[in-house]
């Protein structure tokens, strides 16, 4: 017997990372802007996304969505009410989406016919942060009902985000939501991040969000 140390220096999620890199290449070639939406369960990702899809379609943009949940196709049905093509991914117990699931559920879709593709992740602020889905922009959402310190409690997710969305801003006052504290906490974890304060119900903040999407998309075409 001889003892030997074998150096590997290999990413544990190498398989996912490679698949995600492949997806990213496909998305870029097709000219579709892809966003990965992450939050706790109950933040209002689906309501926010439904409103976003409706508004984008009304502006003449072509948008589609994949939505991840452990079980049920309830969210896909809600999102489909916007008129956009939607597919449900059921993970059957897995707490996050992986690049392979995304790739599989894109089969048959013409990415070149899309301007935007939204991937609504499983509601979970921990595990999805480790899994690259090939997105260009990772959006972390938090609602005014969750407490201003959410970014401090889940720094690994908020630090990995490219944009942050505060939802349910229409009930901020009823929740004694301290806007300044929330913004400070988000910036403490992810300095300089773009933050959108929105309400899917009243449409507050949606115009800024949609302008941001349009700018990010045209930045890709340049």
């Amino acid at each position: 017997m001889t003892t030997r140390i074998v150096e590997l220096r290999r990413g544990i999620l190498k398989k996912n990372d490679e698949l995600a890199a492949g997806l990213r290449g496909r998305f870029e070639a097709a000219g579709v802007l892809v966003l990965n939406l992450v939050s706790s369960p109950g933040t209002g990702k689906t309501a926010f996304l439904q409103r976003t899809l409706t508004e984008l379609l009304a502006r003449g943009s072509r948008a589609a969505a994949l939505v991840g949940d452990l079980e049920t196709d309830n969210d896909a049905r809600r999102l489909a009410a916007s008129g956009a093509p939607v597919r449900q991914i059921n993970t059957h117990g897995i707490c996050h989406l992986e690049a392979e699931m995304v790739g599989k559920h894109l089969e048959g879709w013409d990415l070149g016919a899309l301007d935007y593709l939204f991937i609504e992740n499983v509601g979970n602020l921990v595990c999805p942060s480790s899994y690259d889905l090939g997105e260009k922009i990772r959006v972390a959402l938090l609602s005014v009902t969750e407490g201003e310190d959410k970014p401090l409690k889940y720094p690994t997710m908020f630090n990995s985000a490219d944009a942050a969305v505060i939802t349910k801003i229409d009930i901020a006052e009823a929740c004694s939501f301290d806007r300044e504290v929330a913004l400070r906490n988000i910036n403490e974890i992810r300095p300089g991040i773009r933050v959108f304060e929105t309400s899917a119900k009243t449409g507050a903040g949606l115009a800024e969000w949609l302008d941001y999407l349009a700018r990010e998309r045209s930045a890709r075409e340049r």
Binding site: T3, R4, I12, L13, C95, S129, S130, P155
Partner: protein, 120 residues
């Protein structure tokens, strides 16, 4: 709680590597895990016992090296260690930092194996 799938990937990856070393047994598997990788060492250790059972890795030790966040501070023009995940600021000058150089790692660094020595 995705540590089981993380550890299962480790077991698969090491099992694949072992094909190049027929008959070898694994003593130790060493990981490098950044504090921003969203995995917990205790959970990794707990899952490792389950995931390695019945594989060539059964009975081996999992060693987890935890890596702190290192960011580049443009004001100080140098890389600095961020001591807390509650504030991404340079500990020297207090400026916010967003250019991270370390902290998201999730990798297998090396394995220590006992090889069968050929007897002539």
């Amino acid at each position: 709680m995705h540590e089981l799938s993380i550890v299962s990937s480790v077991v698969d990856s090491v099992t694949e590597t072992l094909k190049a070393y027929p008959g070898a047994t694994v003593r130790e598997v060493r990981l490098r895990v950044g504090v921003l990788a969203s995995v917990v060492e205790d959970a990794l250790q707990f899952c490792y016992g389950i995931a390695s059972e019945g594989t060539p890795l059964e009975g081996s030790t999992l060693v987890v090296k935890v890596l702190p966040v290192i960011a580049h501070c443009s004001s100080c023009a140098q890389d600095v260690e961020i001591p807390s995940l509650q504030s991404f600021r340079c500990p020297r000058c207090g400026e916010p930092v967003s250019d991270l150089r370390q902290g998201r790692e999730l990798e297998i660094e090396s394995i220590e194996i006992d090889e069968v020595t050929e007897t002539v």
